[in-house]
Every structure is written in C-alpha cells, then in structure tokens.
C-alpha cells in the first residue's frame, strides 16, 4: 500500500528534518529496515553475542525471546549503539540501517539514536513535567516555537494513547503518573523525535495486565509507522503481539546466539528447533 513514490519510511511530520549521519532510503512495508550480518558483541574479552544474522522488518513487530542472560538486551542495545556507553564494549560484523552500517567509523552514535529510539524496562520519565518530557527530545534538535511545540506534544501524547488521561495536567511531574501511564509517556517521548525504529526492552515487565494490554495495543497502532523490536520475557506477549520472533539461547561458552527466527505464528505452533519447542511450550532444561 505504500508505493515507491513515498520516499520516507516514517511519516513526514513537519517538525524534524531527516537526520544527519545516514541517509534514509526508500522502503516498503515489511522490507528489511535493519539487517544484522554476523554481528558479535564483546565486553572486553567476553563474547556476549555471537554471529547473529537477523532482519528487522519495517512496519512490523519483531520480538526477541529467550532465557535470562542469552544476550537479548545486548542485541537490542547494540542496534542503537547504546552499548557504546559501556566501557570495553565492542561490536563486530555489519549492522545495517537502510543499507548503511551503523558501526561505520564516520557515523555519529547520537545520530543513530535519533533514528533508532528506545523504551526501557522500567518506565523512566525525566523528573520534569509531562509536557517537558515529550518536548525534551525535540528541543535537543532545534528551537521550536511554543505553539508548534504544543501541537507536537499533543500529537505525540495522542499517538501514545495518553492524551485523554493527561491533557488537563500537562504541567504535573511525569513521576506522578501510574506505571503504565509513565511507560506510555516514555513511548510518547520516544516518538516525539520521530525515530524510524523503536526498540523496547521488556516494556511491560513492571506493569499489570491492563497496562500491558494498553502498551500492546499501542504497539499495534505504532507499527503502522515504525519498525518495532521488543525484547520480552513474557512468551504470551511475544506470541500475541509480534509478527516475527527471534529465539535466542546461551551457548555453553556463555555467548548468546540466535537459534531460530521466523513468523511468530509458525514459531509458536511449529518450531523448527527442539530448544525453541521446549522453550515456548514451557519445558525447560
């Protein structure tokens, strides 16, 4: 439905120019947005992730599942170079965003993070007002007149399905919201800078089922515009909310590896790998 005449993969909202660093390429729904080719991640001498080959498809939800310590979060955080902030972390292999290597020497990690946003496990709104939380990322990039900023804030909060709940208290601290609302605020904040990919690191693990379903529904509506990668411990969540699913496992040398990748329904009904089968059916070790 998105013809080749639409050159920009995220909706062309007026307030932000295409980012520096890597040029955006034409994309269609379901095309590979990010491609990982033999990606390995090391912390010092320790290999946390070995030879991952994976495609993150545009406007689809890709879930990453696997037991604790299998390198799911490491994988996720390598996608937007968040691992750079960890000393001694090194990435090998090629990690392509629209065909350009994210780990190329002249690529600015800050620019990568603007295109690949992130939502964390625990809701972490800034200790600022709800309004300022959303405005923060936009202000980093350019000065926005008050009225325009109002529009951006409203739009992002609407997109994050939070507007109706907070429209009367935008000046209240983001910390006064409930856990689920905080997480949606974090999502609003992430989409305010108009990323192309949104990474979510167990976004619902601290939330109750109601808030969880809200976030899942939100993901479904966000996937119209963004590629989403979600790491989750909750197999039910992975199975009902994702389009593609990557199963990871820890090898005997404690490095994480990808053991199966495919469409979610197939992975949950007819897994190809015995370990995946055991894991999704709840029979572990």
């Amino acid at each position: 439905m998105n013809s080749s005449t639409a050159p920009i993969s995220a909706p062309a909202l007026p307030w932000i120019q295409p980012q520096i660093g890597i040029q955006r390429a034409a994309a269609r729904n379901g095309d590979a947005k990010m491609t990982l080719e033999d990606v390995s991640v090391f912390y010092g001498a320790f290999c946390a992730l070995r030879d991952v080959n994976l495609q993150v498809r545009d406007r689809r939800i890709t879930a990453v599942i696997g037991p604790s310590g299998c390198g799911k979060s490491t994988l996720l955080r390598s996608l937007n170079r968040m691992n750079d902030t960890v000393t001694g972390c090194r990435v090998e292999g090629r990690l392509l965003l629209d065909g350009a290597n994210v780990y190329d020497r002249h690529v600015d990690p800050v620019a990568v993070r603007r295109r690949v946003g992130m939502v964390f496990q625990r809701p972490n709104p800034f200790p600022k007002s709800i309004y300022e939380n959303v405005a923060y990322g936009v202000r980093l990039q350019r000065n926005v007149p008050k009225r325009e900023m109002d529009e951006i804030v409203e739009r992002c909060l609407r997109d994050a399905a939070l507007w109706d709940e907070v429209k009367d208290k935008l000046q209240r601290s983001g910390m006064t919201l409930s856990g689920g609302q905080q997480q949606r605020l974090c999502i609003a904040r992430a989409i305010a800078v108009q990323p192309e990919v949104i990474l979510m690191d167990e976004p619902c693990s601290a939330l109750d089922p109601i808030a969880t379903v809200r976030i899942e529904e939100l993901m479904q509506s966000l996937k119209r515009d963004y590629a989403i990668v979600i790491v989750t411990h909750n197999l039910q969540q992975a199975s009902r909310a994702s389009d593609y699913c990557a199963m990871m496992m820890m090898r005997s040398d404690r490095a994480g590896e990808l053991i199966e990748f495919g469409e979610t329904a197939a992975l949950f009904t007819t897994p190809q790998d015995k370990r995946t089968e055991d894991y999704v059916s709840g029979r572990f070790g």
Binding site: R214, E217, Q220, Q236, S239, R240, T264, F268, T269
Partner: protein
Amino acid sequence: MQKSRSALDHDLTQNREDILRMGSMVESLIHWSLNSEGVVSIGQVTEGAQRGTTIRERIEKRSLQMLATQHPAARDLRCVIAAMHIARELERSVHHCSGIARLNAHDEEVRRYAILQHMREHAMTMTHSSMDAYVRGDAKLALETAARDEVLDESRTLLMRTMLTTDSQPAAPVLLRAIWTAHNLERIGDRVVNICERVVFEATGHLSDASLPASRRWMENTTA
C-alpha cells in the same frame, strides 16, 4: 482504548464467519441433494463437500494458532473449542449430504417420498436454527432445536415401518436407497444436536448431552 485484544477478536470473528459459511452451505446442500424438482449434479455436491473440508481445516488451523499465540480464557477459550467441534460436525453433515446426493442423483422415485421431503425440510430448519442459536449465543434456542431431533428419529422409524409393511413394497434398490437417505438425514439431525450442545457449552460453560430430556430440563433451569 476499548478495543483491547483486537487480534483475538479478529480471529474469533473470522472463525464465526467461517462456521456460518459452512452452516449455510450445509443448508443448501441438504436442499439440493434431495431436491424433488431439479436434477442435482453430484459434482456440485462433492465439490461442496470438499469446500467444507477446506473450511474446517482453516478453522482448525486458526484455532490452533489462537490457542498457541492468543491464550484465550473463559468464554474466548470456549468459543475456540466450540468452533473446532462445530466445524467438525458441519463437515460431517456436508458429507452426509454428498452421500444423499450420490444415492439419489439418478433416482427420482426416492426423492418423491413425501416423508423424506418432510425430513429434508426439517433437517434444513434445524440446521438453520442451530446456526441462529450459535450466532446469538442463545442456549435456550439451542436446546429447543436439539429437542426437535426427535421428529427426525420418529420420521425415520415411520418410514422404515411403512415401507416394510406396506403392500406395494418398492423394489429393493429403491427401498435401500430410501432407508439410507433417511438414515443420513437422521444423522444430520444428530449432528445438529451435537452443535447445539456446543452452543450451550459456549454460552454457559456446561457440557452435557442435550438430547437427554433430564439434562435439558436441568440446563433450562440453570440458563434461565
């Protein structure tokens, strides 16, 4: 934000539509397989039977995926289970119809038996109202529908008795075909009873033999 679980709801609706599709197919197949006026093509009925199987497989596959990925509970879970059972019953009905068509495609004599035509009409209305009950989740209507199966049972007995005791006994092939046709129609009625049981199960969560008057009374009390 009232639309939570849209994926599950979507699949449940698809299942429901497929069941209704099969239901109306069964209805028209009953009609065509024993049509007293027109000449029915076996090919058409067989093709219908194949389509029934296809739809049933589709429903089963979808239900399996729902169970694996959507984790339905409570009524949703019952909906999925019921859909699988009902699809299976409808598929059997379709095959009964193709059996009837095969028996009578070239024999107008049997088709003209009034009692068979009566059974045919009855099986059609039963199928129809079982689908009504399914759509509305109406346990009461389901129980009423199941109760009407007795008519088919009695009709078949009546047919056997009259055919075997009458002076102008038809030729053996006709006799056998008529009896087999009645048998098939009676089986369709049993399938409808099973469907109705599943409708009651879906609506109330209780599963018991709807053809037994005792359980019927008990259930009428509990569902009222």
